[in-house]
């Protein structure tokens, strides 16, 4: 076994080799690191978050997710993986849902951003939030804001006629079926496994029997 490893190999070199064997599964964060010193460059950016203009001076490397959570203290948007794999960070930007961990905050100058806090409050729930409570569409609650933001956007996508992988006819009016909901919600992982209940909650909000 020992001879498999080159002694004194740099950590970066060794990990890069490991990452190569890991193929595309694992994000080779180290292999992709910048070679130069990580001097922070900051930039001013102004975001419209939940209807309010928020001016920030950010390290350009800051993701939209970290800008929301760490700079604006809007921690409703969750960091589950930081790699666009789990959907916990889903927010609605200019009417479309995105993974806020996969985009830099500075790319969103002037953009209208809606987070779970902008949908409703404990005293004044959005219908989707109320339906999630009624149908117990969550357990630990960590994926929940992402599920809710996704669900709200999904209904708009269907209304707008945007097709999905399971849409049989791209020219027909989009139908709001459970298959469509499940397909479109599949970027939002719930490890507690509340999927069955989440679909019922979304279906109720969509105004159609489960």
């Amino acid at each position: 076994m020992r001879e498999d490893f080159e002694l004194n190999m740099s950590r970066r070199g060794l990990l890069a080799a490991g990452a190569a064997s890991a193929a595309a599964c694992a994000a080779p964060s180290v292999a992709g690191a910048q070679q130069s010193r990580p001097d922070a460059t900051t930039t001013k950016v102004s975001l419209n978050v939940n209807g309010e203009t928020r001016a920030l001076d950010l390290d350009t490397r800051t993701t939209l997710l970290d800008a929301l959570r760490e700079s604006l203290h809007l921690t409703g948007t969750k960091k589950g993986c930081d790699h666009g794999q789990c959907g916990a960070c889903t927010v609605i930007v200019e009417g479309r849902r995105i993974n806020s961990c996969l985009t830099l905050a500075v790319m969103h100058e002037g953009d209208k951003i809606t987070t779970v806090e902008g949908l409703g409050t404990p005293q004044n729930l959005h219908p989707m939030q109320a339906a999630f409570i009624k149908h117990d569409g969550f357990q630990c609650g960590y994926c929940t804001p992402g599920q809710i933001c996704s669900a709200v956007a999904v209904l708009d996508e269907i209304k707008a006629g945007i097709p999905s992988h399971v849409s049989a006819d791209l020219n027909a009016t989009m139908e709001l079926t459970t298959d469509e909901l499940r397909e479109r919600m599949s970027g939002n992982i719930c490890r507690c496994g509340a999927y069955s209940n989440i679909v019922e909650a979304i279906t109720e909000v969509a105004g159609r029997k489960a």
Binding site: T62, H83, T144, I189, C192
Partner: protein, 741 residues
Amino acid sequence: MKFDSPATTNPIDRLKWVGQPIERIDGRLKTTGTAPYAYERHDVAPGQAYGYVVGSSIPKGRIVSMDLSVAKAAPGVLGIVTADNAGKLGKGSRNIAPLLGGPEIAHYHQAVALVVAETFEQARAAAELVHVNYEAADAAFDLAAGKEKAVKPDSMTGGAPDSSVGDFQPAFDAAPVKLDATYTTPDEAHAMMEPHASIASWNDDKLTLWTSNQMIAWAKKDLAETLQIEPENVQVISPFIGGGFGGKLFVRADALLASIGARLTRRPVKVALQRPLMFNNTPHRPATIQRIRIGTTQDGKITAIGHESWSADLPDGKPDGAVSQTRLLYAGDHRMTATRLTTLNLPESNAMRAPGEATGMMALEIAMDEMAEKLGLDPIEFRIRNDTQVVPDHESKSPGAELRFSQRQLVQCFRTGAERFGWSNRQARPASLRDGDWLIGHGVASAFRNNQVMKSAARVTLDQTGGVTVETDMTDIGTGTYTIIAQTAAEMMGVPLQKVVVRLGDSSFPVSAGSGGQWGGNSSTAGVYAACVKLREAAAQKLGINSGEVVFADGQVQAGGRSHQLVDAARDGALVAEDIIEFGDLSQKYQQSTFGAHFVEVAVDSATAEIRVRRMLAVCASGRILNPKTARSQVIGAMTMGVGAALMEELAVDTRRGFFVNHDLAGYEVPVHADIPHQEVIFLDETDPVSSPMKAKGVAELGICGVAAAVANAVYNATGVRVREYPVTLDKLLERLPEVG
């Protein structure tokens, strides 16, 4: 309160609040993003700095040298924690590998450094500049290869490693119908949505840790032990936990490194384990190899049953208890189980949801399906013929005495489920049901998980507004604990649910059972029950009530034909009561277990072998269901995780470099929305007075036990292809799919 004789009628039996499908009381916080998880506490400890963990890139060996100079000079860096400057560290008794490696390395991605900086971006960038030179040592990573070196471990969670009743080998040899099959289950990851995360802050020699942990008292003790400080100087706070499944039972590197980093930099420090680090840094459910032998009479009575299991862990680690249920579930005079453990240098193996039964049932319940087919029996009928109301492994459990189950409705679970699911329409012959291009199959499996009870304390306060506050270090990991504790207090004190405040997850509160082993719900509510009994006594005394029969209902206290306002008991100041429920030997006098039956329908594409789960039903008998809404969620969640175990979850081992290759949520596949159909759950009526004053038992882990086998059996029924190596993926079916016209 000592619970040492079966519960009789008590205030819980009124079921005004307990047993009702009440919406979660923390639901408004969780759905609006206002429930604060560990990493999100901007409201505490001002001046928080950010930590980023560097993990070992070798699986075993030592650090020859570290060059921190470039990283230290990087912008914003406040300090770097390594074993060199961490001070003398102990090891919590529940951790197998040290949480901070160096110079010795115990496993891949074991933490070797924490870079602390002003911002997350700075810490992450500087972490890439830490240079570590390693010297790798010989190591072993392959369970199949290590099987020959496996030994009988000193102990096993849930019983002795081995057991023997009657004379297995001759009975098996003589049996007219026999099965001897070997099954494998892979390493699995908890993959909870919230990464392990902590904020640490020191005030002189006192440490406060906001973290995400299932077992507050363990965390406090183990963290103190690791830091070599007094437990009194540690406060652990964990009110919201973004999933655990056993992965947050123990203190992890985020907690330790945040604590050391905060001490080093004299700043509060926050650390979340990076997702790609988690899979190799934290424990996982170990892979197993299981050999099962079953011998029966011609008419399907089991005469011999044997179950052997091999698993691996780091040195000084523990085995998976995959054989546990085989001692309890089916009848048969001649029996043996054996547990063997081998040493591998993969990351630490440890508990994941229903450790033992989850993996054991994956194998046993396929074996039962195979055996039923050999006998030409319906798989439900075969299980019913081998049902038992006494523990079949009684010789090893309790010499000379018959040990009965406190409750055992396994047969009723199957009968109820069969009717609801339409089991009678199932085709016994595999690959004989079609729906267009799809092959349709149906599968069943028993569900079985032992019920455990743990002592649990709580403090309850009646205030001058008539409100009741419950404080306990119990945790809610998505289990609905806030809600069932509120229901319990409302029932006991006769107040509306809205008048109850529940405060959890703080080590300054009385020590509870914590969340694990499906003991949390029953044990922690029993602790609240005990504290409420004391508060009732204090209130009655304050109101001048002397008579025996006292009823607390609707904000009133009724006794001797008179009615008092409960709030008047707090007239002169809040009333506080604290107590602990402690369990006597009822768990030795009766076998306390939970039972169920899983029904699954799958469709398998006749050309591509793509597997889709179409229908799922679980029928559970597990004592009083404290809240059918949240309990049902626990079960469907467990069924979902069981689909993952059946069809996709597998940590892929690189047996050369010694790590789990698919160490993120793209590579380690878990079920998503599109994988899960509508799920149905039926709870049978049951109360178990032997279990606790609540008459409840665990249910959250019962739900995962057997599901994977029910899916695998359904795939077999659809295709006629028997897969004994989990997960059941299409590549294992494709070559052997039936010809279809």
